[in-house]
């Protein structure tokens, strides 16, 4: 029994809840949906001083507040975002504010996109090594790095930051394998693990891996709301200059940034919080912003045909699936689940839902994330075979099912009727119901015996390991259902992924093989139906340079290399 997943589970939800609609934001161009979409944003309404007042960051930025006189002075990169700030506390952060925090704070390292030559980019750590058994990891830190508040970044700061996350962080569970952290010397820190785990992936996590100034950590330990007025103390290239809740965030250069400010750089980054995709489109077209993080799905196709814009289209971590409620007839019968999986026109689902901007999923592991395997099988639509299976199950006359999906998620709302129509073809009457994600999840979790028959969910790993996350959280059996909401219980599967997880570091090949076996078993038994991995789509105007999407940071964009010429 591994403690890590149990620790993790409760926290997963926060981000799922909050960022449900953000799928669009993160896969970028995905849609807008009128009032429906706003919700994700509300959930994240800043927990600090409200309204129209502007709070100025109390950190070490050297710039003074912008005034009208400077209007033509600074070179400003203007970005429209949908991401609200649920917290400015880098320790607690587990939500959409990652977009901003990723530019203010840094971790030990960054994981590169799958196509990069190197797997990692060293940031605060210059190098690291693991012991043979994968239980001891040593990180050598970069020297001469200072936090925005002037404090030096050293081993003690790293230990303090990660200890704080373990203790009170939203994503604290990612450090579960870490038994203790030792300060070897000023710039060397050693992680002692209780079981082997891929520490690079954990240290490169989007959440729970920022290194924060010890002064700020102390202040936050004493006062829970210390960060909330817009205080920060990172090492990143940008300082938070000002923050107006629900309205805008202004970042300005941290002059002492260790990476330096040579070459083409922006002086400031102005982030306008604009929840509406249509509005963002207008701002982008009108030149009011240089970049928009969320455009209507339909608009991306138009931009692709226009001069002056490049559409960046990459795979993402966002995996769409639906659980079957395997506790109750008829879905307790694998044949019925297979029949339903075969009734779905996956091409149509992809054409209608994300407007073609997706790839059919191979199980719950998104493409490009460990342990994704091209040999995991997929279902294709075959109505005859589906009918035969139903006949074998004695259900040739059909039956009815109830499906719920998140009202906040426009893409789910679009493809749910496709499922309805497809199931009707094999005599299955599907009732689709849009309810708030929280409500939907509550229903599935609290009363499995009476819960919905099908539950559509958008899922993504917390950090770059879908073995210990997606495969574990979604389908491994457990006594109290949390995210394994098909309530599936298969000892063979459980054993396969437990063994595979333990071998991730020490014997990756064997681990991959076991995971592969588990995924094949999973798809065959079909406790869920796997739709697609959504693409991340960004429209980048030609005058913006340095844009780079990194799938490992699905809610972040890095502004340091970006300029608007």
């Amino acid at each position: 029994m591994k403690p890590r997943v149990h620790n993790r589970a409760p926290f997963r939800l926060l981000i799922l809840l909050v960022a449900l609609t953000m799928l669009a934001a993160a896969c970028s161009s995905s849609g807008d949906s009128g009032e429906g979409d706003g919700s994700g944003d509300t959930t994240t309404t800043a927990a600090s001083s409200g309204g129209e007042t502007t709070t100025t960051a109390a950190s070490g930025g050297s710039e003074t507040t912008t005034t009208a006189a400077e209007a033509t002075g600074p070179k400003v990169l203007k970005v429209a975002t949908t991401a609200n700030i649920t917290t400015w506390d880098p320790v607690k952060s587990f939500s959409t504010e990652a977009l901003y925090l990723a530019n203010i704070y840094e971790g030990l390292l960054r994981i590169n996109p799958p196509d990069a030559a190197e797997q990692f980019t060293p940031l605060l750590a210059e190098s690291w090594e693991a012991s043979e058994d994968g239980l001891t990891w040593t990180f050598n830190l970069r020297s001469g790095v200072v936090f925005h508040d002037g404090a030096p970044m050293d081993a003690a700061a790293v230990k303090a930051s990660i200890d704080a996350v373990k203790e009170r962080g939203g994503a604290g569970f990612i450090w579960a394998p870490v038994d203790s952290i030792e300060v070897v010397d000023g710039l060397t820190v050693q992680f002692n693990l209780s079981y082997s785990a891929p520490m690079e992936l954990i240290a490169g996590s989007t959440y729970g891996a920022w290194i924060v100034s010890p002064n700020a950590l102390e202040a936050a330990a004493a006062d829970d709301t210390y960060f909330e007025t817009g205080v920060e103390a990172g090492t990143g290239p940008w300082v938070l200059e000002s923050y107006t809740p629900d309205t805008e965030i202004l970042l300005t250069q941290f002059t002492e940034y260790w990476g330096g400010w040579d070459g083409e750089r922006s002086d400031k980054v102005l982030l306008s919080i604009v929840p509406e995709a249509v509005q963002q489109q207008q701002m982008l077209e009108g030149g009011q912003v240089d970049l928009a993080t969320r455009l209507p799905l339909e608009a991306t196709a138009e931009f692709a045909d226009r001069d002056g814009y490049t559409v960046v289209n990459e795979t993402s971590w966002f995996n769409y699936l639906a659980y079957f409620n395997t506790l109750r007839p008829p879905l307790d019968n694998p044949k019925v689940r297979q029949a339903l999986s075969m009734a779905i026109p996956y091409d149509d689902v992809i054409a209608v839902g994300p407007l073609g901007l997706a790839t059919q999923a191979r199980g719950p592991v998104p493409k490009g994330v460990w342990p994704y395997s091209e040999s995991t099988p997929q279902y294709t639509q075959d109505l005859e075979a589906a009918r035969t299976l139903l006949e074998e199950a004695g259900l040739a006359d059909g039956f009815s099912l109830r499906l719920t999906y998140a009202a906040e998620n426009e893409i789910e709302g679009r493809f749910a009727p496709v499922l309805q129509a497809a199931f009707a073809e094999i005599g299955v009457d599907l009732q689709v119901e849009a309810i708030g994600f929280g409500q939907q999840w509550e229903e599935a979790k609290s009363d499995p015996a009476n819960a919905q028959d099908m539950f559509v969910v958008l899922y993504w790993p917390t950090y770059a390991d879908a073995g210990t996350d997606n495969l574990w959280s979604l389908f491994r059996s457990s006594e109290a259902p949390f995210f394994n909401l098909s309530y599936w219980n298969n000892p063979t599967y459980d054993k396969l992924i437990d063994d595979a997880g333990a071998l991730t570091v020490t014997d990756p090949d064997e681990s991959f093989r076991l995971y592969g076996e588990a995924q094949t078993l999973l798809v065959d038994e079909a406790p869920g139906v796997f739709f697609f991995d959504a693409d991340a789509v960004y429209v980048v105007p030609d005058h913006v340079s340095g844009f780079d999407y990194n799938m490992n940071y699905p809610f972040s964009l890095f502004f340091y290399p970006m300029t608007a010429g």
């Binding site: 807008d32 009128g34 026109p345 496709v418 129509a421 119901e433």
Partner: protein, 300 residues
């Protein structure tokens, strides 16, 4: 005074309302061609709603079935009003959507009358503490902006067409209580009720025989006008996601769905919008004509 202002801004000065008869209602339409045209169009729309599945060119799509091969197509010979984001024929959606959009408000107003009118009759006729209790209760409900109350009730009950309709009934009945009470008070003060009492009719009989019949015309006039308002309110709830749930069609919901493609594909939201506008406009034209005849304020 403001207490007497009805949902459409007219004063419910029912005491002065002439009882009027259906013959007069008919007369309105023979005189006023605009009203007649309005009535014909409204009837037409309701017929469409009744026979929707037969009339819709693509009934499956109208009911919600997507068509992956024709996403957001502009109006053409095949799809006169184009298709929406899910490739569904907008015209078919409008025709099928006419049912929840037009028929449910009819039921809502009918139920509001069924609840409100008897209460008003009792209050006006009995007077005394019964009157006070009933009228204070209506005051209470009317001190909320009606749609706001309906939103809050739907939120509390849970979203969906049924709950939205129920919420509107709860928000709307007091208007009719007030209206009928006015009639009842004026009837009670008239001589023939005294005569009726003298010959030994019970109070219930008087209410049934005199007050309710006298209320019919003002109720019909008011209901006509209210229908337009309730259709908008119902559409508003659907627009907010509280009414009809997708993939079922509803004009308010369609307008909301069309919002995300408003600038690139105007037809998705515009046609259902025009449909709702035409119906409500016609109800208002009819209402105005009726009011001109039956509202003593504007009568010569």
């Amino acid at each position: 005074m403001t207490d007497r202002v009805h949902s459409d801004g007219t004063e419910t000065d029912a005491a002065a309302t002439q009882p009027g008869s259906f013959r007069q209602v008919v007369a309105v339409f023979t005189r006023d061609r605009m009203a007649t045209a309005g009535l014909i169009i409204v009837i037409l729309f309701y017929l469409i709603a009744l026979f929707a599945p037969i009339l819709a060119p693509y009934p499956d799509e109208g009911a919600g079935k997507p068509n992956a091969s024709a996403l957001t197509q502009p109006p053409s010979a095949e799809n006169i009003m184009g298709t929406d984001q899910l490739g569904r024929d907008v015209l078919s959606r409008i025709i099928i959507g006419a049912r929840p959009t037009l028929l449910v408000p009819l039921v809502v107003v009918a139920l509001a009358i069924l609840v409100g009118a008897p209460l008003g009759a009792i209050a006006g006729f009995r007077g005394g503490w019964v009157d006070t209790v009933i009228m204070r209760t209506t005051d209470l409900f009317l001190s909320f902006p009606s749609l706001l109350l309906a939103i809050a009730i739907t939120a509390a009950l849970g979203r969906g067409l049924f709950n939205a309709a129920l919420a509107l009934v709860i928000s709307w009945w007091p208007w009719y209580t007030r209206l009928v009470r006015g009639v009842a008070v004026s009837v009670r003060q008239s001589d023939f009720v005294e005569a009726a009492e003298a010959i030994g009719l019970t109070k219930m009989q008087i209410v049934r025989k005199h007050i309710l019949p006298n209320s019919v015309t003002p109720i019909v006039v008011q209901a006509t006008i209210d229908l337009g308002i309730v259709i908008i309110a119902m559409g508003g709830l659907a627009f907010l996601g509280l009414g009809t749930q997708p993939p079922s069609p509803d004009w308010g919901l369609m307008i909301s769905e069309g919002r995300s493609v408003l600038l690139s594909s105007w037809w998705v939201a515009t046609f259902p919008g025009i449909a709702i506008f035409i119906v409500v406009f016609c109800f208002n034209v009819i209402g105005d004509a009726l009011r001109d005849v039956f509202d003593p304020r504007t009568r010569r």
